[in-house]
């Protein structure tokens, strides 16, 4: 009982710190796990800068997360072939970041495409914190 209360408190504290306003138990857990692995306070601002920024080291056709997801997270994106991608903002696409396997799969692929490496727990946590606040 006390343990559960503590867990809820910790999670809420992390969420308040990260400004996640659209709560979902599965998504909250993914972000809380990343926060724990990161060992720092997550930052939506850093997440936005990383996501919309241009990177090097990855594949030439995808220098940014925004290459496919655009810079307006409330609008749909498109793959390089032209297939639409649902908006990343959690307020628009409600089931975003609720399946840990899906989240891990796409971070691995997309970070490798854009940066030529995996994203750190901090980077992943920052991004999800930002996207969950929109």
């Amino acid at each position: 009982m006390i343990k559960t209360a503590l867990l809820i408190l910790t999670t809420s504290a992390l969420l308040v710190g990260g400004q996640a306003v659209h709560a979902d138990p599965a998504r909250d857990k993914i972000i809380a796990d990343l926060a724990r692995a990161a060992g720092t306070t997550l930052s939506a601002q850093r997440g936005q800068a990383f996501f919309t920024g241009t990177h090097s080291g990855g594949k030439p056709d995808s220098p940014s997360c925004s290459t496919c997801h655009t810079k307006d997270m409330r609008k749909p994106g498109a793959t390089r072939v032209g297939k639409p991608i649902d908006p990343m903002a959690v307020s628009v696409t409600r089931d975003r970041f609720t399946d840990p396997e899906k989240v891990a799969k796409w971070f691995k692929r997309n970070c490798n495409s854009v940066l030529g490496r995996e994203c750190t727990a901090t980077e992943q946590g920052d991004i999800l914190t930002w996207l969950s606040s929109l």
Partner: protein, 153 residues
């Protein structure tokens, strides 16, 4: 007596076919789900087995993107694509005969029949309309592409 034999035979045949059929159905569902996250799940008959094997062997470098998958999923999708490939069960369509055995075609959109049927008129249409995105977006023009219907143009 005859009825019983029929029933027994059907049951036995059912058992023999149910395994592979179920596996094929699962392979099809997985293939559709994974491929269509980014693009139309192009039908397996558009490329020969050797092409699908080469594509599935290099998913981390998939036409300029990392599309890697857990190995079990990767293998299941490759098996499904190989089973339906252009050269499945000894078939050898004419367009494939024209490609040397030691050449591994990687892009459907570079096959000679494809470039022949999608001439400058189509290329201009794609170039002018950002919503189409690329010549690989079959469903932008062929509304039945997902079901393998391409005769509507």
């Amino acid at each position: 007596m005859k009825t019983i034999t029929t029933i027994v035979t059907s049951a036995a045949l059912g058992l023999i076919f149910a395994g592979p059929l179920a596996a094929q159905k699962a392979g099809e569902a997985l293939t559709k789900e994974e491929c269509s996250a980014c693009h139309l799940a192009y039908q397996a008959y558009f490329l020969p087995k050797r092409s699908w094997q080469a594509i599935m062997a290099d998913l981390p470098n998939h036409f300029g993107e990392d599309a890697s998958l857990p190995d079990a999923d990767r293998a299941e999708i490759e098996a499904f694509l190989a089973a339906g490939a252009a050269d499945r069960q000894g078939r050898n369509p004419r367009w494939l005969q024209a490609i040397s055995q030691d050449v591994v075609p990687m892009r459907i959109s570079e096959l000679s029949w494809f470039t022949h049927e999608h001439g400058n008129r189509v290329k201009n249409r794609v170039a002018k309309d950002p919503a189409i995105g690329s010549i690989s977006n079959c469903a932008a023009c062929h509304k039945g592409a997902e079901r393998g219907h391409y005769d509507d143009d």
